[in-house]
C-alpha cells in the first residue's frame, strides 16, 4: 500500500501554515501525528495534493495547567497525556481515554488535536472532552476563537473549522476538588475502536451532584452528549439508584448502528452497563476527592 504523490511542507510558523492552506484550498491537508491520515493515504482513500506537517511549528505541544484549565496543545502526543501525573490525578477520564486509544505505539505519535480534528465518531477523545466540557482554540489569520467541543464537532469527520483555520489548543476546565471523571471503553481487542465507550465527569457539592458531563463514543454519527442523563443527575445524590437511572438515560441517547461490533440492541444495552460503570467510578473518585 503506497500513498499517492503529494507535495510536502513543514512550515515553522502558523502564518506560514495558514498561507499554505489559503493557497491550496481543498487540496491541502494538515498532518499532525498521521496515525489516521497516513493509513488512509496508503489506501489512497485520502489523496491530498499538499501535506502540511505541523511538527516544526513551536508551541503546539503544550501540556500544562493554567489559570483554571488544562491546556493541551494540538500536537501533544497521546503518550504524553498517558504519562502525565497531573492528567492522571486530576483529569483521570482523559488519562483513561488516552491510554485506550489504538495501541501504545500508535499513541507515541498520535496527537490529541489530530484525534479531535479527524472527528471520527469512533475516536475516544471527543466523548471524554464533551464530558469534561472542554473547548478548543481555532486560529486563523483573522485571529483566534474558542468554541466548545459540542460546537466543534459537526458530523462524521466534519468539524466547525473553516478551511484556513487550525486547531491549536484544547482547554479543559480544571475540576474542583470534589470532582471525578472516568472513561470506560469496551473494545473487541487492543487497537480496535470501541464497541461502545462512555466518558463521565461528576462534580459534587457536599453530597449532591453539582455538575455532570456524559459523552458517548462510536454510538452515532459523532460523539454524543447524553444531555438528559446529565440534567437528571444535577442536584441529586450519587446513589446507586440515581446512577442507574442516569445510565439508562445515557444509553437512550445512543444512536448505534449494527455492524461487525454487534447489533444495535447489544450496543445500546452495553452502553447502559458501561455508563453505569463510568458513573460509579467517577462518583467514587469525586467522593474520594471530597474526603
Amino acid at each position: 500500500m503506497i500513498p499517492d504523490k503529494f507535495t510536502y511542507f513543514a512550515p515553522t510558523t502558523l502564518s506560514e501554515a495558514w498561507s499554505l492552506l489559503q493557497n491550496h484550498p481543498d487540496e491541502a491537508k494538515l498532518l499532525a501525528g498521521g496515525q489516521s491520515l497516513i493509513p488512509l493515504m496508503k489506501f489512497r482513500l485520502a489523496t491530498p495534493a499538499y501535506v502540511i506537517d505541523m511538527r516544526k511549528i513551536p508551541g503546539l505541544d503544550t501540556l500544562e495547567e493554567r489559570n483554571g484549565y488544562l491546556a493541551i496543545g494540538a500536537m501533544t502526543r497521546e503518550s504524553a497525556l498517558e504519562k502525565s501525573a497531573v492528567v492522571r490525578r486530576r483529569y483521570t477520564g482523559i488519562y483513561e481515554a488516552s491510554s485506550v486509544i489504538a495501541d501504545p505505539l500508535v499513541r507515541n505519535f498520535a496527537t490529541v488535536g489530530g484525534n479531535l480534528a479527524h472527528a471520527d465518531p469512533a475516536n475516544d477523545h471527543p466523548a471524554m472532552l464533551l464530558a469534561m466540557r472542554a473547548s478548543v482554540v481555532a486560529a486563523s489569520p483573522r485571529g483566534q476563537r474558542t468554541l466548545t467541543v459540542d460546537d466543534f464537532i459537526v458530523d462524521t469527520m466534519e468539524t466547525a473549522l473553516t478551511p484556513d483555520e487550525i486547531l491549536t489548543e484544547i482547554h479543559i476546565p480544571s475540576p474542583t476538588a470534589h470532582s471525578g471523571s472516568a472513561y470506560v471503553k469496551f473494545e473487541r481487542k487492543v487497537g480496535d475502536y470501541a464497541i461502545s465507550a462512555v466518558g463521565v465527569q461528576l462534580a459534587l457539592n457536599g453530597d449532591t451532584i453539582s455538575q455532570a458531563g456524559i459523552g458517548l463514543t462510536n454510538l452515532g454519527p459523532k460523539a454524543i452528549r447524553a444531555a438528559a442523563a446529565e440534567t437528571f443527575l444535577v442536584g441529586k445524590q450519587p446513589t446507586e439508584e440515581n446512577l442507574r437511572e442516569a445510565a439508562r438515560l445515557a444509553a437512550s441517547a445512543a444512536q448505534p448502528m449494527a455492524d461487525l461490533r454487534g447489533p444495535e440492541s447489544y450496543k445500546r444495552a452495553i452502553t447502559q452497563t458501561l455508563a453505569g460503570r463510568a458513573l460509579r467510578a467517577a462518583a467514587q473518585r469525586a467522593q474520594a476527592g471530597a474526603q
Partner: protein, 169 residues
C-alpha cells in the same frame, strides 16, 4: 518531485533525494538497505515495522521519511553493540522468544524502549507495552519471559552464555 532528507540510523548519517511519500520503513529497507525492519500490514496494526525515533518506538510504516528529517532512528541492527548482544536480544534468545523471527525486530525495539521507562515491569505491564506488536507464532508467553530476562539482565550485566555469533550465509 523529490526532496532532500538527512537522517541518522543507528548512528550513521543517511542522505537521499526522496519523494515525500516515501514511507520511513521503505527508506530504512530500500535506501539504507537495513532489512531487519519488516512490513506486516497496511493499517498500523501489526508493529513488524517498529523502530525507535529519538528513542521512542514508532511504526515506521505510518511515518513519511520526510517527517523524521534530522531525527535519530534506531533499528534492530543497532541493538548489538561491540559484537555483544543487548540484553533484550539475549532475552529473546535465552527464553525462546521468537520462532519465525518476522515480528521479532519490531517486538524488541518496542521492548527495549519500554524497559528504559519501566526497568522492573510486571508481566501484565509487559503485555500491555507490546500490545501494538502482533506475533502469530509464540503466543507471547516466551516474549514476556524474554523481556523479563532482559529487565533482570540490565541490572546484572554478566549473564549466561550468549547467542552464537552471526554466521554469514
Amino acid at each position: 518531485m523529490t526532496q532532500h532528507v538527512k537522517l541518522t540510523i543507528n548512528g550513521q548519517a543517511y542522505e537521499a533525494d526522496i519523494e515525500p511519500r516515501l514511507l520511513l520503513v521503505h527508506f530504512i529497507r530500500e535506501v539504507a538497505n537495513l532489512t531487519g525492519t519488516h512490513i506486516g500490514c497496511d493499517t498500523t496494526s501489526c508493529g513488524a515495522c517498529t523502530v525507535q525515533v529519538n528513542g521512542v518506538p514508532a511504526k515506521s510504516c505510518t511515518l513519511f521519511a520526510v517527517q523524521v528529517e534530522g531525527d535519530e532512528i534506531r533499528t534492530v541492527e543497532g541493538l548489538e553493540v561491540g559484537g555483544k548482544l543487548s540484553p533484550i536480544q539475549e532475552g529473546f534468545f535465552q527464553e525462546h522468544g521468537l520462532q519465525c523471527g518476522y515480528c521479532t525486530p519490531g517486538m524488541m525495539m518496542t521492548a527495549e524502549a519500554f524497559l528504559r521507562e519501566n526497568p522492573h515491569p510486571t508481566d501484565d505491564e509487559i503485555r500491555r507495552a507490546i500490545s501494538g506488536n502482533l506475533c502469530r507464532c509464540t503466543g507471547y508467553v516466551n516474549i514476556v519471559k524474554a523481556i523479563q530476562y532482559a529487565a533482570k539482565a540490565q541490572h546484572e550485566p554478566e549473564t549466561a552464555p550468549t547467542a552464537p555469533a552471526e554466521v554469514t550465509p
